[in-house]
Symmetry: C2
Subunit: 329 residues, 2 copies
DNA sequence: GGATGAAATGAAAACGTTGTCATTAAAAAT
DNA sequence: ATTTTTAATGACAACGTTTTCATTTCATCC
């Protein structure tokens, strides 16, 4: 492969000059500049990212860790983050955690030797971050920026971009109340994550605020995250004869699964049972009947991430964003 | 950062010995081995992937290029490929092409300086590969394996893992005929890709084989790829008063969009109009009414990719896989 | 006991980049 | 004409790994 040395030799200059031409930061005579450019052109030289990495001590990539890339919200985030990163010259190394703490630990360890610029964790899974203290410290020591979207991990050392669950919960409940709903079920993955807890607390406090009674039978915890979880939870509730007229679901996939169960049972949505999911627009607005969804506004999240990547000073305060309720009808 | 030099010094051996201990391929005394391991433990040494890359001339990653990571089939493939690659110690650099030829060209160029092990292109978009001949040659010269899933790019130099469109078309049409359908619409993205052409040819030849008439009004080309494309195509056809009793769609998303349009128009699926999509199971089986889908069998595709990565000899013949028809009812 | 071979280790080079320091050449000021 | 300043360039080091080649140590055999 052709390297700076070859270019330098061909152009009759030193490596340093070639480097200067490439970076364009210091003074080079126009004559030598063109000579070097010609040599580059003729030899087909392309700078090696490995050499650059060796010199700078880091690669031009970030690690993007998601719970499950198949889920709509995460793939949307991946796409938009990919675009945003591309604009500042960074590539994206994708790691799918499959909701597994073990996988997360492996990936954290792996990233230590990878010398990525940043590690962006996008997950609301209830990981035990105390078990990863040494790994996290190691990453920080290596000057790898840690960013979390999905849950507040400020304590664990992540810059956190989170959603205002309190506000979202109230917004959703208020919307359902306005529709006339009174028995609102809460459907989410088995979760003790901060985000999960907060959303559940928001559900409870919103119920209380609007004078509705809390009922354990209306809280459905699911081990499965996607469609099948929603389907099973709703089916089970119907089979048990539990009465409900609305479901607040943790993801659009859970809501869609529940919707299938309701449809199969001959119930009409949203007349008999109203549904609110969480995610983006693409799926929920083309499901029939259409779903309402609490939209996470991926572009804004990406903007915050990129901003955090740009600045060398870290503002450790969590960034809280509102969720926008997109109603179907 | 602590490097082999530090470990070597601490253990009182040479760098070479440390490297030997790490790789474990050559002879080292048990005594020195433990001494080195101790030093590694105490100093908290972790081998740098950059150093390794510099030495070997390539990084332990592959570039995965997809048309659109938000689409179900591609995110499924990404997830499973990520797992499969992980098992052979490779990371995945994700590039979302957004169906753009310009982006593809950029990424191809970028990969030249990235020194990835392989470039896996997963797209059935109608790119003009003649325009990228020099980039492709460059990548081949750099010993970067080129793999295509989604269309046969054997000519362009890619090892291709493709679907048997002919068989799939016949299977789908036969299924629809058995249901009693006679006016079968073909819905896909505007596409002159080999895969797109082949599938369309399969549609035409299957129609002919089963004695149905071909009708231009039943062929819907969409610039938009996802839900909105399917919705618009089906709505337009209905508005124009075009009669049809089945739709063969290029993706599950297009089918789902069409389904929404049909539902909005008060048509019942599959009784009034039958639908067949393409993708995996997760979405299509939780839509109501459920979709039939031609499933691409992602695990098998991944297996082929990894196999191709493992062997140093390249078998240039395209690998053709059957599509499996998953029916809803 | 000296020659032979095998096992274990060390020294050094190579990969490609960029930045520091030193040097030369040219222009400006005295 | 000599000194001072500035622009332009070159030589070389450093990053961390692996591998080749050379060397040492030790056991084995005649």
């Amino acid at each position: 492969m052709v390297s700076v040395v070859d270019v330098a030799r061909y152009a009759g200059v030193s490596q340093a000059t070639v480097s200067r031409v490439l970076s364009g930061k210091t003074f080079v005579t126009e004559a030598t500049r063109t000579r070097v450019m010609e040599a580059i052109e003729i030899l087909g030289y392309q700078p090696s990212s490995i050499g650059k990495a060796l010199r700078s001590g880091q690669i031009d990539s970030v690690a993007f860790l998601v719970s499950d890339i198949e889920q709509g919200w995460y793939s949307t985030l991946a796409k938009q983050l990919h675009t945003a990163l591309g604009e500042i010259g960074l590539d994206m190394l994708l790691f799918d955690l499959e909701h597994s703490q073990k996988r997360l630990l492996q990936v954290l360890r792996h990233c230590q030797s990878l010398h990525v610029r940043a590690l962006i964790l996008s997950s609301s899974d209830p990981f035990n971050f105390a078990d990863m203290r040494s790994e996290i410290a190691n990453l920080q020591q290596r000057n790898i920026r840690l960013i979390s979207t999905g849950q507040d991990l400020t304590e664990a050392g992540f810059v956190s971009i989170i959603h205002d669950e309190q506000q979202a919960g109230h917004q959703a409940i208020a919307h359902l109340l306005a529709r006339g709903c009174r028995k609102i079920a809460y459907l989410n993955r088995v979760s003790h994550s901060i985000a999960g807890q907060k959303r559940f607390q928001a559900y409870r406090s919103a119920l209380a605020a609007y004078g509705l009674e809390y009922d354990d039978a209306l809280v459905w915890s699911e081990p499965a995250f996607r469609f099948e979880g929603g389907y099973r939870s709703a089916s089970d509730a119907l089979a048990k004869g539990i009465k409900f007229d609305a479901i607040l679901a943790g993801t659009d996939e859970l809501a869609t699964g529940a919707l299938a169960a309701l449809t199969d049972a001959g119930l009409r949505v949203p007349d008999d049972v109203a549904l609110i999911g969480f995610g983006d627009l693409s799926l929920s607005s083309y499901i029939r009947p259409a779903l309402s969804t609490l939209s996470g506004e991926a572009p804004e999240v990406c903007r915050h991430v990129v901003e955090c990547l740009g600045h060398s000073e870290i503002d450790v305060r969590p960034i809280s964003r509102r969720l926008i309720l997109r109603t179907s009808a």
